[in-house]
Symmetry: D3
Subunit: 267 residues, 6 copies
């Protein structure tokens, strides 16, 4: 029988029993924002939930103790609000939801809480949340975006030139083709590249030293930045597998981290 890693499908005495095993708790955090004319608005929420559940299931099947909360789908997306359908919280509310969910888990005894992110625009806030959870609330948690565990694999996998992986792009379109092909409208996909810059990022894999704020409407008429036309279902399946494997490997290691703090001093 399949192991159920969905926290929401357990009754409280089952969660009580799980807590005995010092489990990893995964809190997937997505967004609800335009992803061009060819992808649905729930891409980020769907993908982070998919990666989280698959990676957790893999770990649970090897005997690991782990549970995954439902996806928090209300992300931080003010830069997408000029396109219909985007739902965005402000920074305070967004941090409060993720933070209080983590605090709730910590109160019940979860000691290994991973905030797994699926939307670039959430990252600064969630990195900061890890600080305030610790220093303002005494709760330890770690943060990562799922793609960051597989950056090398991603670089090897891509067919696009720099600029092709950013938003509703070669990567996201392929991952959606792999997991929800019914929701992808490849005929509506159209590539869009940003102008090169020495200072501002134009691709997920090559950043710049300067951060600015620009509405996607100013950057791209379709809401796409990158090369969705290069996406394929088969390559999407390969990439998804690589990401799930990398995230599962981290969950395994995280389960063994000493709890006092996340690192050991070197003499």
């Amino acid at each position: 029988m399949a192991i159920n890693v969905k926290l929401g499908e357990l009754a409280w005495p089952e969660i009580d029993a799980l807590l005995e095993r010092d489990p990893v708790a995964v809190l997937p955090i997505g967004a609800f924002e335009q992803h061009g004319p060819h992808l649905p608005v729930m891409v980020d929420a769907h993908l982070v939930g998919t990666v989280a559940e698959r990676a957790a299931t893999r770990m649970a099947e090897s005997g690991g103790a782990i549970a995954v909360a439902p996806v928090i789908w209300t992300g931080y997306s003010p830069h997408h609000m000029d396109f219909p359908g985007t739902v965005s919280l402000d920074d305070t509310a967004f941090s409060a939801v993720a933070g209080q969910a983590a605090q709730s888990l910590a109160r019940h005894g979860f000691r290994r809480i991973a905030l797994l992110n699926g939307h670039g625009g959430n990252a600064n806030l969630l990195k900061n949340l890890v600080q305030t959870l610790r220093y303002d609330h005494g709760v330890s948690a770690v943060f990562a975006s799922y793609w960051d565990f597989a950056l090398r694999e991603l670089a090897a996998w891509r067919k696009s030139e720099p600029g092709g992986i950013m938003h509703a792009c070669e990567m996201e379109t392929s991952l959606m083709l792999a997991s929800r092909p019914d929701l992808v409208r490849m005929d509506a996909a159209k590539d869009h590249y940003l102008e090169k810059s020495n200072y501002l990022a134009a691709d997920l894999l090559s950043g710049g030293p300067v951060a600015a704020a620009a509405s996607f409407k100013e950057l791209s008429p379709t809401g796409v930045i990158g090369a969705p036309t290069l996406a394929s279902r088969k390559r999407g399946e390969e990439l998804l597998e690589a990401m799930v494997a990398a995230v599962a490997a981290f969950f395994e290691e995280f389960a063994s981290w000493p709890l006092r703090d996340c690192r050991e001093d070197k003499k």
Copy 2:
């Protein structure tokens, strides 16, 4: 082909097209809290999402314009925090999530926003939210708990005496048996009644004039208040159908309300 009422599965140009039809937008709001030893913690989120999607689909199939957002599963449940697995926001964060989601929808042009609730503990906050959305943000929305549309049907349907319908009870257990029987552990279900009171509510259908606050741990050792052992799948299906029909009827009427305000003066 089935009509898709899930807002999250539409791309932004599809949402743009839907907005031309002055659609109803439904924001289902649940909770994530203990529901006794026989039900999973996601009962409230699951049931409100189920009712919302079925009712909306019914309306859409008759040609109505309607879309349903994903369920906000992070509710207001401090009174359940003494049981493991409960995830609760504080009142400010809870109201901010639902309120900013509604504001996002309003900004895109949705003018008929229904906050459909699935957790009693959320109700005061969401009723107040309807006020602050209007007076602080200029956004019109309406609020209702799904069961409130079918109180008469519920009274006729029940087998339990007063005290039997409150939490993880005859009603919720039956509705879960109807929609997710795989997650119900009837062998673990055990009834629990509150002492009668002239002042405090002891059943969903009979309130009292006084409001107090008590942790469920003080009220019930199992987290149940009511009579889950009287639940049945068949009767659950009947009740679910009655509720879906009543909610769909409201959606239909809501779609025709004049927009200036929700009521007409009588001379």
Copy 3:
């Protein structure tokens, strides 16, 4: 000599002595908002203060320990702001005033704090306040609107059809005639009924499943909803007496509630 139940007229050593007797503390909460052309703006503050002091005096005269704070007259009335004279707090400030007053009393040792409400628009916020006082601040308090203790009496008493008791109506006008006839201008009173609705409340005694927000200016040109022309001083005196008796009965029972929590489990 009359017993003084006004907390504000006691010196601190007298309050110290009262605290030895485990007294009930009553915090009356009103509003300051238009009540049509025939009633003054302080109706809600006046009536809740009157009921509170009369009921408390009755209990004190039977030997009970009780004190009444001055009325908090700054209520939550954004829906009345389109009429001159209304003074309204926003929801955060309103809850903070009542909540911090209750916290102050709790800090001094009052363990039986009753928030007695005199304005319908305050109710959701105060019900929620009872929750946050308990879960965020560890303070126990109970909430009720004074009329809710006498709903049956009210139903028997009324002469108006449904729609006649809502705001500046048969009930409030009669109660004002009974307690401050000098401030009632019966010649300016004019009835106003809302259109019937299956979903929205149109009378204090018959609610609906849906909550919406509407400025009173949209609902009634005079600010009245109900039938003030049916009011009478004599019947007002009868109703006031019924309400004072019902509230006094609750104060008596409240004084005997076990303190751990407000209810006892049933085996």
Copy 4:
């Protein structure tokens, strides 16, 4: 017939008519805090309300347009919380109540709003409120403590040496004897002087350059600072009359101030 200056006793059409005359609106702000063993906790609220209503009545009787709101009795008194009966808001809530009351009045068209203060501990917050009302909300208001209009008269009137007028002292006890003698327990009055300091204030009439924070419990075992035993009813009546006259004179002048701003430039 007496002129009614109580805003709360007017119906909205009467307030509408008053607004035509560009009236002064007075918002009296007191406190609810221990005043030694011989005075009740509502001294500050009572005195500021009394001065406000008498001064306003005087102006109204000479034909001036003026109305007085009920007293805001919830002040800022954390330094008195060690004595039973004190009710105190925190600084944010206190400023919100007074500020939002002023904003409500301004929205209806009141353009001459005077915050009349009756508690020293409120003064810094209300002075700041005048700034935030103007710069954050565009509302003009002025602030003063009632005794500050009669400092010279007070200096001439006193019998106590420096240190005798501070809290529950020669001044406040005399004013209470003049207005509510039934609430004064002169047999319980006992003088208490602070040690002299070059830096810290020890009397209402002689300040120091340094501000510190000390609980009254640390400063005085009875809660008194000053010389209540020197109080007398007759002298209290004289002082109250002087203060009412001085405040009325200010109201008269305030009614004639140019509205653009409170001062004229000198070339």
Copy 5:
């Protein structure tokens, strides 16, 4: 070798050692706002830093334990925002910066924290901060504006009539000539007096009972209030010396205050 009183120039083990000596910590707080056409915008920050460091050095040279933090230059100056260059925080942010800096120092063991102010517009907020630090955070601190220690000297020193010392005036211009003559443009200085008032302050040395809020643009076309043309470098040096001496005398006394609270009761 000169003693270093700058906290920022010490390494943490040096601060650790200083804490053994129960030192005074000085937190100078200025502003960044227009000071007429003849003075730079950093006048307030510069002057309070200069006085603080000179006074502290004097005390340290006599063997006292004292350290001075860098100046907080972001003050509360909304009334100067109509002139270019002014940088102002709102009241919440301003109080948070000064308050959290004081809390940080207290956490490390500093028990004698002096908030030394250099801008009149900050005073109400900082006086209140001393209260909230104590009652909300348990941190003791004292507040003073540097000129308040030398009001008598200032009265004797001035050449201007009342109205000559207010902003960018005889006093500030002289102090700048004494400490940063390179930044003073005496040829651009022009006097400006406010109209006399019985109620509003028109000079630093003579206040009034009423507080109002007015943009400096309304009060003075140049941003000056007072008589900068009467300023002189030599007299500025004399005044600066008097102020430094008076502040140093306070620091010395403050170092010896009993810590429980700032005052002793008198029997």
Copy 6:
């Protein structure tokens, strides 16, 4: 005569004149935190101010329009609070100070505002601030940490192995030796390396996918992470020059960016 780029040393008419030239405004933001036993606590504030002023002066000397505000020295450093001397704001206050300073500048007409950062712990908050300034306040600003402009130069310059550049390290010690050698105590410097990790960053130049929160006290007994013993004054001067040149180059380019938004679409 040297060009003055210090905004604080200009009078308002001079700032008015500068604004005609569409200048760059630089807001340097540092921290006040332990930097091991060999460096003072004001390292971050000092270095970012030094780089900002030197780079701005270079640009001004070539005719560019630019001004530098004083350093905001109150940073976000909760992870250093276990060492004496650290002064840290919480995240809300920190963001408010920097954000409101930027809003003040924008109100006066500055349209090219650069938040130049000198403390790694501030980066997430300031990146987010750029978003909230734009989306919540309509203010455009850009963010960068000064070292990020010279990462390649830094990689070439370093002598330490990975782990040698992190905090109070080879880089910061060298830069201090170059600019304030009097404040460096090389005899107290001691190297400290973190254990290697696949997931967590152990050097400024090599990050990891996971973010956690750890007090520096847990990570290093001295507060140092890196290799300060490899620092030298001569190499520090070279590195400082490289950084100033890189920052100046950015300021020059920033002055020419189109203002509508920071990027141009590519067709």
